[in-house]
């Protein structure tokens, strides 16, 4: 038999001024199953809570209803009070008679009547509440960080430095990502490599980090705290244990004219190569598409030159299976191919280059050793035109969003060019200068004021070649007239776009992505580093275009989320999850489709001899977030949602 306690809070005058609490308490006292019905000025106060606890103990209450403010205010408070009084905290319901009653109605009688209905229906609900226990999920304390750019490195190091194990997977032969390609970084103009390479080395040498380069995530199963991840180790054809990184093989390799990806096509590399000199690990791979041996079975120059016999042409891909507790996705971005702007002449005129190519030209370790030289003739340009938003903020040809970093790096490029080519002129076509960030606006002002970058507000309509010059036709919207600039080099501030396989990869991990392929955060403001899947966190530009400080900040935030998850052996979750009645489940799998979290699996029901009788739905408590969409779908009424069960809702309505 139910023994329900009803506690009606005056909330000072907030409730009592409109709702006749005495009448309410008396009426609720007459409700079937109510053992105690009392009113008080402030139940959330210490004495108020004490009186609730005392009433629970004295009357052996089986459930309580607090008629007070919104559950969003004090549900947690009163659940805790229940627990302290020895009553399961989930046997507490809140009747919201303040925000949704006393504060919003003018007629006292009608407000009182409504308060009665609200309280009654909660009494009926709480009678059917079940004792729930927080769900405990064991946690494997090992993080997987996917991506070895600055975000991945930061996340890996933060987690590792806190004493937890990390597996870092990078699909390229070396760590570094895009940041390793950059020259100086805004707004401080410190050398990218100088800050990046030590982090790469630190990562590789960290006792808590297992580094897997030239490796890809093949599959992810399981759920928060308990992921099972399979990694494909792509074959390098170089034994990583033997190789000392001496580089003899690369010197001997006869194929030397392969366009270097790392240098964005501005430099050359060999068929056996490391992407760049400071690669970590400093172990080459063989590019089988270019290697003579792989093409016609002859050559083997590298093998012959290797004194420790590290070259193995027979090497196969290997798979590593890992148990993982949390995943940080830091898969980065790509720059958009600008070929859709035929009018800019990218790909047609060699001296029309992308911002990233400009970075390679400007960096001391780049193909020109830091000299800004034209790809066409190797001469130093005297006049450079920068075109901003070459793809971003262009719904018709490019992408709708702002790539966020281009205003800053274009200003930086102008400065670097000014510093390196004295007397060189820069013209920058822009839509807006977006320089929000610490020291950012000062930085762009410096480019304009000290390094004489000439900003022209307007779009470029055409670039063509004339007398050895690149003629750039645009419009100066501030002056309201067309302009034509004769340039030696044109630099396009291309858009940042998701990795080309971002959507497929999201499906492997089971996270949500937006229309472009950037990964969705669970909540843009309140849960910006969590993905839609519990236990998977986001860092860096895979979530949206970001600069280095933002990427690092997000990586550290993700790391702290991972560490919080790893702070206990078991993970506690709200027990509001779906449960299935296996006896009645018809196995139609509509729920599997409807579930936003992939939390529903197929479970075999076998007889004693192991013969499969049927398959039913099983809700994984680690993944279920408790929305109840599956419950509503279920035609046979087999699924139910703890905390909001069919019985509870039925009683709530019928109790009104």
């Amino acid at each position: 038999m139910a023994k329900i306690g009803v506690f009606i809070c005056h909330c000072g005058e907030n409730i009592a001024a409109k709702v006749d609490c005495t009448k309410l308490a008396a009426a609720m006292g007459e409700h079937p199953g109510v053992a105690v019905s009392v009113e008080y000025k402030y139940f959330c106060s210490d004495p108020g809570q004490e009186s609730v606890k005392k009433a629970i103990r004295d009357n052996n209450l089986t459930g309580i209803v607090i008629a007070a403010c919104s559950p969003r205010m004090h549900e947690a408070t009163f659940r805790k009070a229940c627990a302290e009084a020895g009553l399961n905290p989930y046997l507490c319901e809140i009747a919201n008679i303040r925000e949704q009653c006393s504060w919003v109605h003018t007629d006292s009688d009608m407000a009182t009547e409504k308060a009665m209905d609200i309280t009654r229906s909660m009494i009926e609900k709480v009678k059917r509440n079940n004792k729930l226990q927080p769900i405990e999920v064991p946690v494997t304390r090992r993080a997987l960080v996917i991506g070895g750019g600055i975000a991945g490195l930061q996340a890996a190091l933060d987690i590792a430095n806190a004493g937890q194990e990390v597996v870092l997977v990078e699909r390229e032969p070396s760590l570094g990502g895009h940041m390793a390609q950059l020259s100086e970084t805004f707004p401080t103009l410190d050398c990218s490599q100088c800050i990046m390479t030590p982090r790469m080395v630190e990562t590789a040498q960290h006792p808590n980090i297992r580094l897997l380069t030239y490796a890809e995530v093949e599959s992810v199963d399981g759920y928060i705290g308990n992921f099972k991840v399979r990694i494909r180790m792509k074959s390098r054809y170089v034994d990583t244990h033997k190789c000392t990184g001496c580089g003899d093989c690369m010197t001997k390799c006869p194929v030397k004219k392969i366009s270097s990806e790392f240098d964005c096509g501005l430099g050359k590399r060999t068929a056996i190569y490391t992407p760049f000199a400071q690669s970590v690990p400093n172990i080459p791979i063989i590019d089988t598409a270019s290697c003579i041996y792989f093409k016609n079975g002859k050559c083997k120059m590298c093998q012959k030159s290797c004194q420790i016999n590290a070259i193995d042409f027979e090497m196969q891909d290997e798979f590593i299976d890992l148990e993982i507790g949390a995943i940080v996705v830091a898969t980065g971005f790509q720059i958009q191919n600008t070929a859709m702007y035929g009018e800019y002449g990218y790909g047609k005129f060699p001296d029309v280059i992308t911002g990233l190519q400009f970075e390679r030209l400007a960096t001391a370790s780049g193909p020109t050793a830091g000299k800004i030289l034209r790809p066409s003739d190797g001469k130093e340009p005297e006049n450079v035109v920068f075109i901003q938003c070459a793809g971003s903020r262009d719904p018709s040809k490019g992408v709708r969003y702002c790539s966020k970093i281009c205003c800053m790096y274009t200003a930086k490029h102008a400065m670097l060019y000014a510093h390196k080519a004295h007397g060189g002129k820069t013209n920058i076509f822009y839509m807006d200068i977006r320089a929000a960030g610490k020291g950012y606006d000062e930085f762009t002002r410096r480019a304009i004021e000290e390094d004489e970058a000439s900003y022209i507000r307007g779009r470029v309509s055409k670039v063509w070649q004339e007398n050895g010059k690149l003629m750039v036709r645009g419009v100066d919207t501030l002056l309201g007239r067309p302009v034509t600039v004769a340039a030696d080099m044109v630099v396009l501030a291309t858009a940042m776009v998701p990795q080309p396989n971002a959507k497929e990869f999201a499906k492997i991990i089971g996270i949500a992505y937006d229309e472009y392929g950037f990964y969705n955060e669970a909540h843009l403001k309140l849960r910006p580093v969590e993905s839609s899947t519990a236990g998977v966190f986001l860092a860096g530009a895979c979530q949206s275009p970001k600069d280095i400080p933002d990427s690092v900040a997000q990586a550290s935030a993700s790391a702290s989320k991972v560490l919080a998850l790893f702070s206990k052996e078991k993970l506690e979750r709200e027990p509001v999850i779906a449960i299935n009645n296996e006896a009645t489940c018809a196995g139609c799998w509509g729920c599997v489709l409807a579930c936003p979290y992939n939390a529903i699996e197929k479970k075999d029901i076998c007889d004693r001899s192991g013969r499969l009788i049927k398959q039913v739905a099983y809700v994984n408590p680690g993944l279920c977030q408790g929305c109840g969409t599956c419950v509503t779908f279920c035609r046979s009424n087999s699924l139910d949602l703890a905390g909001f069960t069919e019985k509870q809702i039925f009683a709530e309505v019928m109790g009104l």
Partner: protein, 150 residues
């Protein structure tokens, strides 16, 4: 006159993250609205079963309101998209069986839309008041000798 005017009974099923929070905001903003609506809180519109609507009518509701997060805003990423489909289907079914769509209304109200909530409650109450008591359904309940009435 006001004493004789018909006060409709309306039952609302709302999601906790958007509309319930919006209703709370209406409260904290001290907006005033009609006291005719009784709210049943669910985690998500995805949890709102058509059965709830039928039971609200059985309980004697003259009108039913169903409300949740705007498309794209669902706390559970797409519970409301599923809900929207169900509503489209169920609404059309009810219409075909003779339950006016004016009796069962649907809305999107975000946690920020306290004033939209207050306005909606007022307008829905007013609309249902104009329609009058749901006599046909209540007659059916009476014929069934089912005692459930508000």
């Amino acid at each position: 006159m006001s004493e004789q005017q018909f006060e409709p009974n309306i039952i609302a099923f709302v999601c906790t993250y958007c509309t319930y929070a919006g209703a709370d905001l209406a409260g904290t903003s001290r907006l005033k609205y009609a006291p005719n609506v009784r709210i049943v809180r669910l985690p998500c519109t995805g949890r709102i079963s058509p059965m709830f609507i039928l039971k609200a009518l059985q309980k004697g509701a003259d009108g039913v309101l169903v409300s949740g997060c705007h498309p794209g805003d669902c706390h559970f990423t797409h519970g409301n998209y599923h809900a929207r489909r169900r509503w489209m289907v169920f609404r059309s079914l009810l219409e075909f069986t003779g339950i006016s769509p004016e009796r069962v209304k649907y809305s999107w109200i975000s946690a920020a839309e306290g004033s939209k909530f207050a306005d909606l409650i007022n307008s829905v109450t007013e609309d249902i008041r104009k329609l009058g008591p749901f006599d046909q359904y209540q007659q059916m309940i009476k014929d069934a000798q089912s005692p459930a009435t508000l």
